[in-house]
């Protein structure tokens, strides 16, 4: 069970499981990540846990959409369990999800989502009930408003219905789950009355309710699309200006509504439709006035943010994900080369990438870098696998050794995969470091936490200030500042992990769309 047998991605996943769900789930999860499909009986022998613990761990993971099961191929009566890698990785993105929902909608939707993330899978009523409970401390919203928020989330596909038992499921030992396309986002009728009643009674659990069979979960793919869109809009805003970013945001929305989420190219949207959307959206006056120009500047830009696909309806515009993510991935790689090796190396890297195949002499002439430096940077890039070599032999000779051309080129998918692995490693390192810092100073942190809670309680009880001050002095200021420093370090590391995740998203998207286009 040592980590050296797991790839970097799986290491990250197992670290996440350990962190959020505890060690037992972590162990079971690591085993499944390593071994793929496994039947229930294999797991206790390999992990050394009891079968009860394993069953519980699996149940927790299935509830949280991290594990799926299906009938084994060899034996139809036994189920095999598999990890859903992407969902485990998305655990790190939960804070981003909440922030996005809050930004797009508001607090009530954010609470709904938080409850749903905590519960894993739940029925609509349950979610509404618990959210109302949470919000009731401020006595703000009624369940019907929450119901509407829930519907809004479903309409925009942020939450999705879980597959239900198939019709012949009871006949099989291993049940199959399925769901129809049109039912995926359909919100059932929810009875508000029982919920309101339970809330008044300050119940902690909602009892039986009418829609308990219809279960919902978070739709990770939709959130990925949203995260990607944020990156694209930022790129557009950098390329032109912020108003262009606004326009691009609207166009992305139109594309999303009309296209199949799995296709690498969106369906074209016509000029008139875009113009209507801009008008309806109450955008800035500059955008309305120069709408034509903004559109034109965006689709003539070399980054491929918008492609012009035809002339019907005043002009058809679509987006080729593979092209635009190739440009974004290249921008990421450029930035990494720049920070690691310097601007001269960047010039050589971009030159080789744009011109496809180059000889050493050509490179140093076109890049106008002195010969010695050019050679040094070329070999450094080669060493770190940013450049690849192709040898072509000149002439044929059976006797003398044949001179050969040595050409440098950049094989983009390979370089992206290498960088992606390095990014996973970086993310893992940040997590390990954070864990290490917190466990090392655990005693100190616990003491501080206890002291803080005691102080809070006493303040609530109305104890005079001098006593409180005396109590807080039991902890010397040096220790207090150390605790603060540790918290700051931990925050920095969390931010660092979020940053690493952003690069990982771009590189993963590039590889995903590249494989789709082929």
């Amino acid at each position: 069970m040592s980590s050296f047998t797991l790839g970097h991605f799986s290491q990250v996943c197992s670290q996440l499981l350990n962190h959020y769900y505890g060690e037992i789930v972590g162990q079971v999860g690591s085993y499944l990540l390593r071994r793929g499909n496994r039947m229930l009986n294999d797991i206790p022998t390999a992990t050394g846990l009891s079968i009860r613990e394993v069953k519980k761990a699996l149940a927790v993971m299935i509830q949280h959409n991290l594990v799926k099961f299906q009938a084994s191929e060899r034996n139809n009566n036994v189920a095999e369990y598999t990890m859903i890698h992407h969902n485990v990785y998305c655990l790190i993105r939960y804070p981003k999800y909440l922030y996005m929902i809050k930004r797009i909608y508001g607090t009530s939707e954010e609470i709904l989502l938080e409850i749903l993330l905590n519960l894993g899978q739940a029925s609509a009523s349950n979610v509404i009930f618990h959210s109302a409970n949470r919000l009731n401390e401020a006595n703000v919203l009624s369940p019907s408003a929450l119901h509407q928020s829930f519907q809004r989330l479903a309409q925009d596909n942020f939450i999705i219905r879980c597959p239900k038992l198939a019709e012949n499921a009871t006949l099989l030992k291993v049940p199959t789950l399925e769901i129809e396309e049109k039912e995926k986002f359909a919100v059932p009728n929810v009875e508000i009355e029982p919920i309101a009643r339970m809330l008044k009674e300050k119940a902690t659990q909602l009892g039986g309710h009418c829609d308990s069979e219809i279960i919902w979960r978070v739709n990770h793919e939709r959130f990925d699309i949203e995260l990607r869109n944020v990156i694209l809009v930022n790129a557009a805003a950098r390329r032109v200006d912020t108003t262009a970013g606004e326009l691009y945001h609207l166009i992305l929305k139109l594309w999303r509504e009309s296209s199949n989420p799995d296709s690498p190219v969106t369906t074209p949207v016509s000029y008139n439709v875009i113009k209507d959307a801009v008008r309806k959206n109450d955008s800035s006056p500059i955008l309305l006035e120069h709408f034509d120009h903004y559109l034109r500047v965006l689709y003539e830009d070399s980054a491929g943010l918008i492609d012009r696909a035809g002339d019907a309806g005043g002009g058809q515009f679509n987006l080729d994900y593979s092209k635009v993510f190739e440009n974004l991935a290249c921008a990421s790689l450029d930035s990494i080369v720049l920070e690691r090796f310097g601007s001269k190396a960047l010039r050589l890297f971009r030159l080789t990438r744009i011109q496809k195949f180059m000889e050493q002499d050509q490179m140093q002439n076109v890049a106008m870098i002195p010969a010695k430096e050019a050679k040094m940077f070329t070999y450094k890039l080669l060493e770190h696998n940013f450049l690849q070599i192709k040898e072509l032999k000149k002439g044929t000779s059976n006797f003398a050794p044949v001179k050969s051309f040595i050409l440098y080129h950049v094989e983009l998918p390979q370089v992206v995969r290498t960088t992606l692995e390095a990014s996973y490693k970086g993310l893992f390192n940040a997590m390990v470091r954070q864990m290490h810092d917190l466990t090392e100073n655990q005693r100190l942190l616990e003491k501080h936490a206890m002291l803080e809670s005691m102080l809070e309680r006493l303040k609530g009880d109305g104890v005079p200030d001098e006593e409180i001050a005396e109590l807080s002095d039991t902890m010397p200021p040096a220790e207090k500042s150390l605790v603060e420093k540790i918290h700051l370090m931990s925050d920095n590391l969390t931010l660092g992990q979020t940053q690493a995740d952003e690069t990982i998203l771009i590189l993963e998207s590039y590889l995903k769309f590249k494989s789709k286009e082929l």
Binding site: S3, F4, I231, N234, A235, R238, R239, V240, D241, T243, A244, I286, E289, H290, H293, Y294, R296, V297, S302, A303, N327, L328, A331, S332, L333, D334, S335, I336, E339, R340, S343, R347, R350, L351, I354, V366, A367, M368, I369, A371, A422, S423, K425, G426, L427, N429, A430, V432, R433, H436, M489, N492, L493, Q499, A500, D501, E502, T503, I504, I506
Partner: protein, 322 residues
């Protein structure tokens, strides 16, 4: 019968001054004849000589012409058609060296002459002439001393000298154009010109942004500069002592394109297509991963959960978290 006594008189001295005067005259006449020859490149005949120098004693003229002929500074030829005899200026004083130098040296000279503008390597002289190394070196030193040939540092063959005739201008492929002095690549000059071009494009872009109220298309089109304009502006700035051609400026601008700082676009202006450039922003301000130490770590390959390099005691993390 008395013999007639003939008193042999010594040659009188006053003939001497006449001789020296004659010499002076001779050089003067030589010079005049050469001048005439240059003036009439197609050749002169006796008639023209007479008209220009009517007072010239025919004997002197003949002497001078003979001298010039032996010195090979002029030649005699027949005019096609009339078969008249003409005198012409001999343009190749080099062959006169035949007398002054050795035959071997002559061979070497001829080889170097053939190489023309591009010059020739020591090894190639050896191959072509078939002489051995020490002889060649001696000859080359001698010829250089006489200022007949010179050596130029070639950039293409890494600090090896090529030899060419003294008066010829070395070809661009040998000296490398404006960016090379004495065979050394002037990286500082390139950097300076590079930065200047970039700054100019930045200023243009900022000026263009002021027109933001006219719409983004106007802003974008106003931020373009053509390579000719940039060349003009750089020449006006007088950063470099010599003038830079448009091609050289375009080479510098291409390196900026490869830096990712500017983009190029071909625009047709009348009949020709010219290259225009403008500043562009990158798609990402920086790849997010470089903001953590692991993104730029030089030892990431050997980092792991066990061993010398671990995230737990990573020096870079310690620095970053402080």
């Amino acid at each position: 019968m008395a013999l007639k006594v003939v008193i042999k008189k010594e040659k009188v001295d006053d003939a001497r001054p006449r001789q020296s005067a004659r010499d002076d005259d001779k050089t003067e006449i030589e010079a005049r004849i050469l001048e005439l020859l240059r003036k009439y490149p197609k050749g002169i005949n006796d008639k023209i000589l007479e008209t220009h120098m009517p007072n010239l004693d025919i004997q002197i003229r003949v002497d001078v012409i003979n001298d010039l002929l032996t010195k090979k500074k002029m030649k005699l030829f027949q005019a096609p058609g009339t078969n008249e005899l003409f005198w012409g200026l001999n343009e190749q004083p080099v062959s006169i060296k035949l007398k002054e130098v050795d035959k071997e040296e002559n061979v070497v000279m001829r080889i170097i002459e053939e190489a023309g503008n591009k010059g020739i390597l020591n090894k190639d002289i050896r191959d072509q002439s078939g002489l051995n190394l020490t002889t060649i070196n001696k000859i080359l030193k001698a010829l250089e001393g006489k200022n007949l040939i010179k050596s130029v540092l070639s950039i293409s063959v890494a600090k090896i000298k090529v030899y060419m005739l003294f008066d010829l201008q070395p070809d661009r492929s040998v000296t490398g154009g404006s960016w090379y002095t004495d065979g050394e690549f002037e990286s500082e000059l390139v950097d300076i010109v590079n930065q200047q071009c970039y700054r100019m494009l930045q200023q243009k872009a900022e000026a263009a942004k002021l027109k933001a109220m006219d719409g983004p298309l106007i802003v974008r089109n106003a931020s373009f500069l053509s390579s000719k304009e940039i060349c003009q502006m750089i020449s006006d700035m007088n950063i470099v002592k010599f003038n830079l051609t448009v091609e050289e400026i375009e080479a510098i601008l291409e390196t900026l394109v490869y830096d990712g700082k500017i983009e190029m676009r071909m625009v047709s202006d009348g009949d020709e297509r010219i290259k225009t450039y403008r500043i562009v922003e990158t798609l990402l301000s920086s790849a997010a991963i470089v903001r953590i130490p692991c993104g730029v770590c030089p030892v990431i390959k050997i980092c792991g959960t066990a061993g010398e390099v671990q995230p737990k005691n990573c020096v870079y993390y310690d620095q970053w978290l402080d």
